[in-house]
């Protein structure tokens, strides 16, 4: 069997998904007897006090089984409890106040309308500037006890030197001598940047089906992420369930992009099942995906850079604030994660980085592909492009001058072990040729080109385990619990396993996502699966192979080191045969043999592997640490756009994106990840954005008005270039690392630069909608006319 690594094997789940035979969580929605269905009563106001609430009429409706409220006696603990069910105060429009279980979805819907709730509307804040200003409206009314952690260390806003009651966490990192750096700089530029809020929008809304088992336990089928590390853990911890009585199954997932790492529906469904002792189904409507599920967090950044005439960036003063919605007691937020990508690309010898997070009365933020990096690096990359223009340098050259080389330490003090960013940048430039002017056709569509680069950290998120069976017929079963959000991880894991045993991919059956039989994995996040679970798979395979060698060696009286396993064959050294088929060595048991010792039919040889990256070293007061992130994924992007100067519409006509994946396990799957990432980023940097009405409620919580890109917004096939430029990761499986998140990061700034080259306007905010681009064009014309 040839080497399977770097081979574009067909996806294991491809046939199931293309033919519609594969089952998703939604397919189980009404497949069990005695189902109850949940519908939520949600706040129409961004901020209000619940003065009086009367459930009498709702309870009296025939078919209503139970009404669950914020007063349930469970240990919400450190979970952002406000995100689950409100008690006395609602913090965003869309927050659940009560959940009704009924015999049918329709009855539950009717019952929701019968809830009589009196609100006292409170002032609210829905954006960063309102939240941060002196004496702002408080996101949480001080009257209530919902204020928690995070709030103890309230940093002052650097600009106003004031402490806002809405600030929830902060991080400072200073390196070198910033003042001296700016003194030595030949040019200094600065500006402020921000971005809109977006929702990950997986096509299958959050869905949980919970079976109530006769022993009082639960079996949950969910399209949420992390069967062990997220869903089971939260159910056990929050509901106080014994681990032995909770089973979580993840069928095919209809997408996540990070949004399904927040187990809102799972907890609510499990709690309801325990209360009513029945099977329960709950799924979000599309509106709830927007208003009740997590959004990303938007960021506002202030970037000031000083550079030498030769393009060396020697001073960088960086400020970032995450706008996290009503996720008020989550210490997750300090700006630390968003800004993580700001440093590993460039040297920045003198840098000050002050970051923090601020709450608002909008839907709570959580993970979204890229974890704040697209938002954080937006301003930095634009600034690098502007420096290049001012210095009359190519945007490629200025980057090559400042990009970190492998083995160097970044500003935090970490060693960068794998960085293929220069190769990525050169690769995309070879396609788009950023330095050459585009051909103009004389129409209202003006062409322009631009490029940008990006880095994204991989967080050490803990443990992955894998189990592998070598069956007596020579087939192999791999048991893993990483998520298959659609990225192709199952296939990559199967390929790694098949390669270790030297068999075809079809000889490996991958079983995944069932806590009853697949071993622990935290969850798939931070582009970690190939790296983390992949390492566990390799260790499990090695364990299994070693055991198999020992057993084969016993049959022939050999030292196991003289046995080599090649699929169904063993190669032997030092005995009377050189090659032997393994399956016949497994004996059928009879009463006359000792079938229960040694290799026995139908009893697989089992291997087990655990992989857990080293933990973070706590950073010092200067924000530095020699060990924070595992490694960094890198990406470069170059685009050619056409901008309609009459309407402001921006079309990406050609795009090249390159990933530094480390050694890719399956290049075609990597390429489709690149295409998907590019498409997603074209969407959120040119179209997608939450809009709010005067009550502070989202006014475009649907796919008609929230403009998710269609395939029509993607350049045509022959104009999409997905490139792989790896720098192998020393501790990755076969040198592989993750790549899915970094792809989205440089697309926006590359488009921004291309728009500037096309029509001469600069944008500091994305999405760069047609309306915003046209406004900028008009402003420019007015400026020129005034001269």
């Amino acid at each position: 069997m040839a080497n399977l690594i770097g081979k574009s094997e067909k996806r294991i789940d491809g046939y199931d998904k293309v033919t519609g035979k594969g089952l998703y969580a939604s397919d189980y929605y009404n497949q069990f007897p005695h189902m109850a269905y949940i519908k939520a009563f949600r706040s129409p106001y961004a901020h209000a006090k619940i003065k009086k609430i009367d459930y009498t009429k709702a309870k009296a409706l025939p078919g209503v089984i139970y009404i669950l409220t914020g007063y349930e006696d469970v240990r919400w603990d450190d979970f952002p409890k406000m995100a689950i069910i409100a008690k006395d105060e609602v913090l965003w429009a869309g927050q659940a106040i009560a959940l009704i279980a009924a015999e049918t979805e329709e009855i539950a819907e009717d019952a929701v309308k019968l809830i009589d709730c009196e609100f006292e509307v409170l002032p609210f804040v829905s954006d960063y500037y309102e939240a941060i200003k002196p004496d702002p409206v408080s996101v949480i009314d001080p009257e209530y006890e919902t204020r928690a952690q995070g709030f103890q260390d309230r940093p002052a806003d650097r600009a106003t030197n004031r402490v806002s009651p809405n600030i929830v966490g902060a991080y400072y990192m200073h390196t070198g001598d910033l003042e001296q750096g700016f003194k030595e700089a030949d040019i200094i530029m600065e500006d402020e940047f921000s971005v809109g809020k977006k929702t990950a929008s997986p096509l299958e809304p959050a869905t949980a089906i919970c079976k109530y088992e006769p022993d009082g336990g639960l079996t949950m089928i969910s399209n949420g992420a992390g069967v062990h590390g997220v869903i089971k853990e939260h159910i056990c911890r929050v509901l106080g369930m014994p681990e032995s009585k909770v089973r979580v199954i993840q069928p095919y997932m209809g997408g996540s992009f990070g949004s399904r790492l927040s187990p809102y529906v799972e907890l609510q469904t499990a709690l309801m099942a325990m209360r009513i002792k029945r099977n329960v189904s709950y799924r979000f409507t599309r509106k709830e995906v927007f208003t009740a599920g997590p959004s990303n967090w938007s960021c506002t950044t202030k970037v000031k850079m000083g550079a030498k005439n030769d393009g060396t960036i020697i001073a960088h003063d960086y400020y970032l604030c995450e706008e996290i919605g009503a996720c008020v007691n989550n210490t997750f937020f300090s700006g630390r994660l968003s800004s993580s990508g700001a440093a590993p690309c460039y040297r920045f010898p003198n840098m000050r980085m002050d970051t923090f997070a601020v709450a608002t009365n909008t839907v709570p933020a959580a993970e979204y592909r890229g974890l704040g990096c697209p938002e954080a690096e937006w301003g930095i990359e634009i600034m690098v492009n502007r420096l290049a223009e001012k210095l009359k340098m190519s945007p490629v050259d200025i980057r090559l001058k400042n990009i970190i080389d492998p083995g160097e330490r970044d500003i935090y003090g970490e060693v960068i072990t794998s960085i293929g960013l220069k190769k990525c940048l050169l690769g995309v430039n070879e396609v788009i040729k950023v330095e050459e002017k585009p051909v103009q056709d004389g129409s209202v569509w003006k062409r322009g080109k631009g490029c940008a680069v990006a880095g994204k950290q991989n967080t050490p998120l803990g443990r992955s385990e894998a189990k592998v069976w070598y069956n007596s017929d020579g087939t192999i079963q791999l048991f893993i619990s990483c998520d298959e959000n659609g990225m192709g991880a199952t296939t990559a894991m199967g390929q790694i396993c098949a390669n270790e045993f030297g068999v075809d991919l079809k000889d490996v059956k991958v079983i995944k996502g069932d806590t009853l039989c697949t071993p622990y994995d935290n969850y798939s996040a931070s582009s970690r699966t190939t790296y983390n679970t992949g390492n566990a798979v390799m260790i499990a395979c090695a364990d299994c192979i070693n055991k198999l060698k020992t057993e084969v060696a016993r049959v022939y009286g050999l030292n196991p080191k003289n046995v080599e396993i090649k699929g169904k064959k063993a190669i032997l050294k030092g005995t009377y045969v050189q090659e032997v088929d393994i399956p016949p060595l497994f004996k059928h048991w009879t009463m006359f043999t000792q079938g229960n010792w040694g290799l026995q039919q139908y009893s697989p040889v089992v291997g087990y592997g655990v992989y857990c990256p080293a933990p973070i070293h706590q950073w010092g007061p200067d924000g530095k640490s020699d060990r924070v992130w595992n490694w960094f994924q890198y990406s470069a992007c170059a685009v050619e756009v056409a901008v309609n100067e009459e309407t402001g519409v921006v079309k990406v006509v050609k795009i090249a994106s390159s990933a530094d994946t480390g050694n890719p396990i399956n290049p075609e799957i990597v390429k489709s990840q690149i295409q998907g990432g590019v498409h997603m980023a074209i969407g959120f940097t040119t179209m997608e954005e939450h809009l709010y009405d005067e009550k502070g409620a989202q006014s475009n919580a649907n796919f008609s008005d929230y403009r998710l890109p269609t395939i029509g917004e993607m350049p045509t096939n022959e104009n999409v270039f997905a490139l792989i430029n790896p720098d192998p990761l020393p501790d990755g499986p076969y040198g592989a690392k993750g790549m899915a998140e970094s792809i989205t990061v440089p697309v926006g700034p590359a488009i921004e630069e291309a728009i500037y080259q096309a029509v001469g306007v600069r944008l500091n905010y994305y999405p760069m909608t047609a309306e915003r681009v046209l406004a900028a064009i008009k402003e420019k014309k007015a400026r020129e006319a005034a001269k």
């Binding site: 009459e646 008609s704 890109p709 269609t710 029509g712 047609a770 046209l774 008009k778």
Partner: protein
């Protein structure tokens, strides 16, 4: 989505009777592409849904010397591809710009009109050609000019018991050119931010008659009457089109909503009317 009764009347008369019986509690089902989403979102909650599909003849069209009569149930995609209707390119184009192909297979011309959305594309095609709406009712048939048919967002001229059976679209005179332009961000799939229709009748190189219609910039589909008046007697060149665009911009009365700001819609009206006029002039054979 729930409703209590579902009917499939087999004749116009039977349908009118049902409409009288259920009054405001009844909704007609043509293609359902507007009705079903509205019922799902509980914007509409009719007790009775009355399908028009068993009434014979509503899906066909009939040509005569003076024009064509198009049945209310004519699917938009069929309309947009119909070779017999090549005299009315702006109507075909407008029908072809409604949403996705899947929707156009299902959606009907009558439904697009009776939904009375200010952003309806196919309606613009009817407006451009001064179509007549043929209405059946308990007290007999009547006709209304399409421009008078719309009374507000979601509101039409239909009285209790009445429904639209067909549209009569007059044949354009020799020397006519017409065009329809839809402006939306995600192509036809998106609801129009602005729709602009134009029909020009040229005599001796001058504009003898003009229709300029706009979608999505007023409570109803509208005619830009001042722009039309301005165009009469002018040469259909760039300068005229530019000036006309500016007048249309002032005539448009858009609002700001999640799809676009009012100022942006006005800017786009100016651009699209300019292009529609030039497109229409170029289409004159």
């Amino acid at each position: 989505m729930r409703f209590e009764k579902y009917f499939e009347p087999a004749s116009i008369k039977e349908c009118c009777e049902l409409l009288v019986e259920y009054g405001k509690d009844a909704k007609l089902l043509a293609g359902g592409t507007d009705l079903v989403p509205k019922m799902k979102a509980e914007v509409l909650a009719p007790k009775a849904v009355i399908s028009l599909h068993k009434i014979p003849g509503l899906e066909t069209y009939k040509l005569c010397d003076k024009g064509v009569t198009i049945g209310a149930l004519m699917p938009l995609r069929k309309l947009s591809l119909c070779e017999d209707l090549n005299k009315w390119p702006a109507l075909k184009a407008a029908a072809g710009h409604v949403s996705s192909m899947q929707i156009r297979n299902q959606a009907t011309l009558g439904g697009n009109a009776c939904n009375a959305s200010p952003s309806a594309d196919a309606v613009e095609g009817l407006m451009v050609y001064d179509a007549i709406v043929n209405i059946a009712g308990p007290n007999g048939d009547r006709e209304v000019e399409i421009a008078d048919f719309f009374k507000g967002p979601g509101k039409t001229d239909l009285k209790e018991g009445e429904f639209v059976v067909s549209f009569f679209v007059p044949a354009p005179e020799e020397g006519t050119g017409a065009a329809y332009r839809k402006f939306a961000i995600r192509g036809d799939t998106d609801i129009s931010i602005v729709g602009a229709g134009a029909r020009l009748l040229l005599k001796d190189g001058k504009i003898a008659d003009a229709r300029i219609t706009l979608a999505s910039v007023a409570p109803t589909p509208m005619r830009a009457v001042k722009t039309e008046e301005f165009l009469i007697g002018k040469t259909p060149d760039e300068e005229t089109a530019k000036a006309a665009g500016k007048i249309a911009r002032d005539e448009a009365k858009p609002i700001s909503d999640p799809r676009a700001s009012a100022w942006y819609r006005k800017d786009i009206v100016e651009v699209e009317v300019y292009h529609a006029i030039l497109d229409a002039a170029a289409a004159v054979k």
